[in-house]
């Protein structure tokens, strides 16, 4: 069954954004592709609710290429394309914008293996384990501090508070110094003082 036909099966009462999740769930199942849910939806799973304007997935470039045509047929258009990510724009009001962040196969497998299952709009997805999600955010701050300090830093603080992560615990400090910077760790220590 084609993706567009499957989309018609989305119940009418289902909210519009749900169709993006149905589409990805169908495609990943059909093509044997791994896409891990990150971004605002993963943050919400860990008890921190904040606004988001798109759905973010972690995958490999090779996996993305397997579903790229089907996404295009379903109404998505490439917006911003870079080596490590692609941003897709939903050309119909039905479809939420989607971002795909690319990692290597080993990294994806590691995050998938430690990930947690969630259900959205009746479909199953995986979100990263909390510390892996924090690592992704630390990485973003490290390489785009000017902008990401305003978005990912509050996310990290809120995620730590909501999930009782101790800033002084060895595991967190190591994570912070590995994926973030010493400066970010110092700022976190300050925030939890």
């Amino acid at each position: 069954m084609t993706v567009s036909r499957r989309l018609k099966k989305v119940p009418e009462k289902m909210n519009d954004s749900a169709s993006a999740f149905h589409l990805i769930a169908d495609l990943t199942e059909e093509k044997g592709v791994t896409c891990i849910l990150i971004g605002g939806f993963a943050v919400n799973h860990y008890k921190v609710t904040r606004q988001t304007t798109d759905v973010d997935f972690l995958t490999t470039k090779a996996y993305f290429e397997k579903i790229a045509d089907s996404l295009e047929k379903a109404g998505y258009k490439k917006d911003l394309v870079q080596e490590t990510f692609i941003q897709l724009k939903g050309s119909e009001s039905l479809l939420m914008d989607m971002d795909f962040m690319f990692v290597d196969e080993g990294t994806l497998k590691k995050i998938q293996d430690r990930g947690v299952g969630v259900k959205i709009a009746g479909r199953s997805f995986t979100v990263p384990a909390l510390h892996d999600l924090l690592a992704l955010k630390l990485h973003s701050i490290k390489f785009n501090p000017k902008i990401r300090m305003n978005t990912d830093f509050p996310d990290i603080i809120n995620l730590m508070r909501a999930n009782d992560v101790n800033v002084k615990e060895k595991k967190f400090k190591e994570l912070c110094l590995r994926f973030g910077t010493h400066e970010v760790y110092e700022k976190l220590l300050e925030a939890f003082r």
Binding site: S17, N44, Q51, T84, M96, V103, I120, R148
Partner: protein, 57 residues
């Protein structure tokens, strides 16, 4: 101050609500329909991009 007759709130702030994933989807949907600024969002997304590979080994 007494003349102002201000209410004294004695109870603490309510615990923040944790949204289920489906409720969160509705929340996102509502905001996209009612408060979304497409131009500003597109600009923000470009600025916040990180083009350095994330590696976990």
């Amino acid at each position: 101050m007494k003349e102002l007759n201000l209410p004294i709130i004695k109870v603490g702030a309510p615990k923040h609500k944790v949204l289920s994933m489906d409720d969160y989807l509705k929340f996102v949907e509502f905001n996209l329909k009612n408060t979304f600024d497409e131009k500003a969002s597109a600009k923000w997304k470009r600025l916040s991009a990180v083009n350095v590979p994330f590696v976990m080994r």
